[in-house]
Each structure stands twice: as C-alpha cells, then as structure tokens.
Amino acid sequence: MSDDPLLSVSGLHKYFTQNDGFIDRLLGADETVKAVNGVSFDIERGETLGLVGESGSGKSTTARSVLRLDEPTKGTVSYDGTDLTALSDREMTEMRKRIQIVFQDPASSLNRRKTVGQIIKQPMEIHGLYEGERDARVDELMETVGLPPQYSNRYPHEFSGGQRQRVGIARALAVDPDFIVADEPVSALDVSIQAQILNLLEDLQAEFDLTLLFIAHDLSVIRHVCDRVAVMYLGEIVELADADELFSNPQHPYTRALLGAIPQPVPELARQRQVLEGEVPSPLDPPSGCSFNPRCPEATEECTSVDPTLDDVAGATGGHQAACIHVDEFEVGAGVPSAAQDVDERFSIENFDAEPTLATDGRGRSGGDDDR
C-alpha cells in the first residue's frame, strides 16, 4: 500500500433508524438498522476496488455514504487528503466535479424527458464547466463511449439497455472526474452486452486515468474488472485482498462459501456447486459475535460472542485481510475450482468449423448423460 491513497475510508458507519416518522417517535420506536457497520478501506490512484456482497450486505450504502448521497453516521472519508464528511454542502458540490457515479439501472437513472445530449451536458452546466464548447464535448463524449454523436437529439427510450448505460457513463465522464463509483453497472444488462460495457469501462479507465470503486454481486464480473476486492457481509468487510489472491486463496469461510455457490458455466464444475444453508440475518436483529456465525460451517462457541476484526492474515502477502477468529495462518488453495477449459481457443471464432477435439458422442462422460 502506498502512503498516498486517493480515497481512504475509515470506520465508516451508516445507521438508518425507524423513528423518523412522527408516529414512530410518539410510540418510542427506535429500531436501528446498521447498514454499514465500521468499514475501512483505501483505494490507490488508478486502481479498481471491487465491493462485493449479497443483498443486504451494505455495499451500495457504503458507496452512497462515501459520496455523501447518504450522510454517514460516523467515520471519515478522506479524498485526496480532504475529509469529505467535514465539507459544507457547497464545498461538497464543488468536490463532485471530481467524483462521479454510474448507476445500475440506466432506464430509471436517465431523465426520460431530456434528450441524451441534454443529459450528458447537464453536469457541465451545473459545475459551470466547458462554457461555449459543451455541444462539441457532448459529441466527443458520445464517440468516446461508442455512441453515434448524431443520436444526441434522441430520447433515452429510443436506445437499448446497453446504449443507455453508455449514456450514463458519458454523463459521468462529462466533468472529467478522477474517481468514479460504478454501482452494479452491468447487472441489468444482457450477457452479450455486459462484456461490451465492462470492456468500455476498462478502456476509459486507462484513457482517463480513472480510479474506480466497482460494486457488484457477481464475483465473475468482479474478477475481470478489479485489482483488489472487499467482500462484505451484513454491513462489514469480512475479507479484503488482491483479486488474484482472493479468488485462488480465499481465507474467510464466507468468501469460500460464496465462491463455491457460484454456478460456473462448465457442467462438471456447476454440478459440484456447494450449498450454503441459511439466509442473511435481519440487520434489525443481527447475531451476536461474528455476524456470519449462524451459517458458518467452521463456527465454534467462541464465534457467538467474539466479534472479529478485519486483520492481516499471518503469512499472507499483499495486505490480505480477513475478519475471522479461525483464520490463524494463511492457507493456500480453497479457491475457485477450475477445469481444463481453454475458453479462448475452444470457443474462438477461428475454431468454428473445427472438428471437436473432445468427446461429444456421449460415451462415458461424467454425469452420464446422453446427448439426447
């Protein structure tokens, strides 16, 4: 880790209380949801940090709190040396020139009464940037994200889902930011389109020196995009490591379970899919001790009382951290089961006509299925 990260989040908490309404206050209801419960991480300049977790893990709330779209309850968010939580609204608006967000659902995050040209132009107007050259910049941005500039007079509904997400990305780039939060940017898109958008983000990051916080529930997507990954569970980071490390040598039982539960698009692997029992507990009534203990295959008596902190894993390299009292020493392996699948070659365009190299005649294949 360098001493000069672009973003440094420390002890971030975001609580939502249910006593916001008059009636709730009258009745004295004060149930608190600890959506983000003490999250700390750094993002280096030019890096992509992935935040992954299931629904209710607090990954989106973490991102929104970092951007102060939700006011953090506690903790600091230091951006290039400035504590964002201490800024006034006016100062924060100024800061938003440098920090932008791409939302999940391009259909609902674009104003349907505005043309895409107006949508892309709006951030420049708000921040008073590029006066006099805004139209030219809209054209340029559209080209950058792979949209024909002559479509700038069209409305969002005239575009496909993938194209709308490109509009969302162009809007984020309009003010020439350093840092972009991408909140599930491809999860609403079709598989064949997802890859286009992921490649685009990758290209833009290189072209514009962007630093990315990439939020997703899909670990396969995370693997392709991120340099480092933080795994969240019930408002806390349970494991943080370099992407390669996390996928080959996961240390936390939850990360292992999550990786094992993913159905890989390879039949012999997908049939070995592991089942993690139970469900994510209600954040209104979290379990005592480690919040994963009710579902954890490794849990002991101690886990119900001790709340583990995110610590360096002994013997690991590259700042690998885990929050589990049973992770004593770095263990190699336990990562993604892999198959001898040379995807590039097997499904390549060139090999379209090739004779199949592997048996497809149904003789003695694992699983024993005939072709019909």
Partner: protein, 358 residues
C-alpha cells in the same frame, strides 16, 4: 436422468408462432420455436431478453393474453395437441399435469392472504378435499420445499417471508398437485447466489421424489450447466441450437451460442478483456431478414441475409440453425432457391439473391 432418443417425448413443441399486435407493430415474440421434453429430464431454455423464451412457456399453456395470439404450431403433451384444447380442458391440465412457476415471488403472491391459504387454495381448486386435508397437505408441501417450522409458518403472510422463502412457497404451490411437468421461468433470478443454490437443491430433490420433467427458462449459462440435462438456446423468437448439456458446453455449434460462451466473464479466468458479441439484441418488432443473428455474426455471408435456416440435425442428437455450422450440409442450390422464396421477403434479399443465382 436423460431419456433414450427413441422414447416418446412428454412434450413435443413444433413450429410454435406467437405474435403480439401492438400499436408499434407486430412483435414476433415466438417465431417458429421447436423442441422436445423427455420423461424425467430437465430441459433448459436459455436466452437473453427478446429471445422469446418466456412467451414460449406461456404459449404452451395457452396463457397468452390479448394483444398476443398463438398463430400456429403444435404443443403435443403425451400425444395430445394442447393448442386444440378448450379453456375448460386447459384449466384442468394447468396445475394438474403441467404447472408453472414464475420469476417474481413478490408479485406472484397475494399480500393479503397467508401463504398457507394460498397454497391450500391451489390444492382445493384442483382436488376435492376438505379444508383440514388441504391444510395438512400444505404443511407437508412446505416441509418438502424446505420452509422451516411449516406448522407455524403456514399462517404467515408473504411479507413475513424472505425472498428465498417466498420462492419456496411458490414452488410448493406449483408442485401441490404433483404435476407431470413443471415449467420454471427464471425461478431464481431475483435471488442471491447462495439462495439460488438452495432452491435448485430443493428442485432436484422434488424432481426425484415426484418424478417430474422440468423446463427451466433462464438467461444464466451457469445455472444451465449445473441443472439441465439438455439445452435449447433461444434467439430472436426461436430455438437456434439444441444439444445435451455436456456437448453444448464442450463444443457449441451455433455462432450465437459460441458468442455467448466467449462473452461471459468466468471465475476461472482473469483475462482483462472479454470478447463480447457485437451489436445489440434484436428488436422483435423488426427482426433482421434471413438468419436473425446475421448482423451480429462473425461468420455471416451474403446467403445469411436472405436464407432463414431451420433447425437441422448436425450430428446425432444435436441440432443447429446455421448454414455454416459444421454438419449442417445444405446444398448451395437449396439455399439459393429457398432463399428467394423465403416468406415476407425483406428488402435486402432480392439484390443479394439475384446476384448469387446468376
């Protein structure tokens, strides 16, 4: 698990065509879909949005509402064409013989009735049983699908259930009459991956217990790989490739299937660049001429713009709808003559064809 090739299929769908007549034009939601379902197997229908996979399922049960209409084709269930059945006959087939389970458990359950009431009602609609028997059976079903403490949870309302539990309740409803065939339309799409694994685990056990044949509609190739015996790949309203699951993932024959396989990010592979399928998913009101995949296809030739390839056997037990697929073996003269005759000839075809046939 999988059936013998010479066995009679449970369901035999041939050349199914369903269209929606909207103000914006005719939507060719299902455009000549054909596939079979064999006894005791799980057939995956995999496709992206606009592939027509969900409307295919609705059409099979005659559940297509206006402005949609089933135009032609046949859906043979154990020999009988379901498309010729009356609404009354269909009502007794749905649920009893062929049950359907939908994607979104939030909208498929009624918030004002208890989960138990809703399952019991399905049982009583199809079977002449007392309230007490229906309730007993409901509790038994809830246990079957893995809902903990079914005797108390039977009186819960849907909002007291988690997403995964609601999906289990829907599954209990779908299997309440021990159907012969279960059609599950994206049953886990709204769920987290660990819950998804649980649901498929339950589905597997139920299939064994009740001997159901299952049609699983999904967009997720990983789910297909883990759950299905055979697969039909849908694109532009029809099936473009059919194969056993191992064969399909080992060596897909249709360029679209191959494109999908290339474009999915894989856990096992950390290459930075993915290889997407170029272009966009087709608009069903305005399908491309010829093969509907040709504008996105790296192998497309002039013939592909005019000739609409049907699903043909490319090797025993495998079919593909692509002129250039290995084993498709269609003579050039057939392509040329039939390409010209292709119905509703698109504006692109005459020139290309004229040139080719000289």
């Amino acid at each position: 698990m999988s059936a013998e090739p010479d066995e009679q299929p449970v369901l035999e769908i041939r050349d199914l065509v369903t269209r929606f007549y909207t103000d914006e034009g005719t939507v060719k939601a299902v455009d000549g879909s054909s596939f079979d379902l064999y006894e005791g197997e799980t057939l995956g229908i995999v496709g992206e949005s606009g592939s027509g996979k969900s409307v295919t399922a609705l059409s099979m049960l005659q559940l297509v509402d206006s402005p949609g209409r089933i135009e032609r084709g046949s859906v043979r269930y154990r020999g009988d064409d379901l498309l010729e059945k009356s609404e009354a006959e269909m009502r007794s087939i749905r649920g009893n013989d062929i049950a359907m389970m939908f994607q979104d458990p939030m909208t498929s359950l009624n918030p004002v009735f208890t989960v138990g009431d809703q399952i019991s009602r399905v049982i009583k609609t199809h079977q002449d049983v007392s309230d007490a028997t229906a309730r007993e059976r409901t509790i038994e079903l809830m246990a079957d699908v893995g809902i903990p403490e079914p005797t108390s949870r039977v009186d819960n309302y849907p909002h007291q259930f988690s997403g995964g539990m609601r999906q289990r309740a829907l599954l209990a409803m779908a299997i309440s009459c021990e159907p012969d065939v279960l059609i599950a339309d994206e049953p886990t799409t709204a769920l987290d991956v660990t819950i998804e694994a649980q649901i498929f685990n339950v589905l597997d056990k139920l299939q064994e217990k009740y001997g159901m044949s299952i049609i699983l509609i999904t967009h997720d190739l990983g789910v297909v790989a883990g759950t299905c015996d055979r697969v039909a790949v849908a694109y532009g309203g029809r099936v473009v490739e059919r194969a056993g699951v191992d064969a399909l993932f080992e060596n897909p024959r249709h360029p679209y299937t191959r494109g999908l396989m290339r474009s999915i990010p894989r856990l096992t592979d950390d290459t930075d660049r993915l290889t997407p399928v170029k272009g966009d998913v087709p608009n069903l009101t305005d399908l491309p001429s010829g093969c509907s995949f040709h504008p996105r296809c790296p192998h497309a030739t002039a013939e592909c713009e005019s000739y609409d390839p049907e699903l043909r056997e490319v090797e025993p037990g495998r079919e593909a709808a692509c002129l250039h697929a290995r084993g498709y073996n269609l003579s050039k003269s057939t392509i040329e003559t039939e390409g010209v005759q292709a119905d509703g000839g698109s504006p692109v075809t005459p020139a290309t064809d004229g040139g080719a046939s000289q």
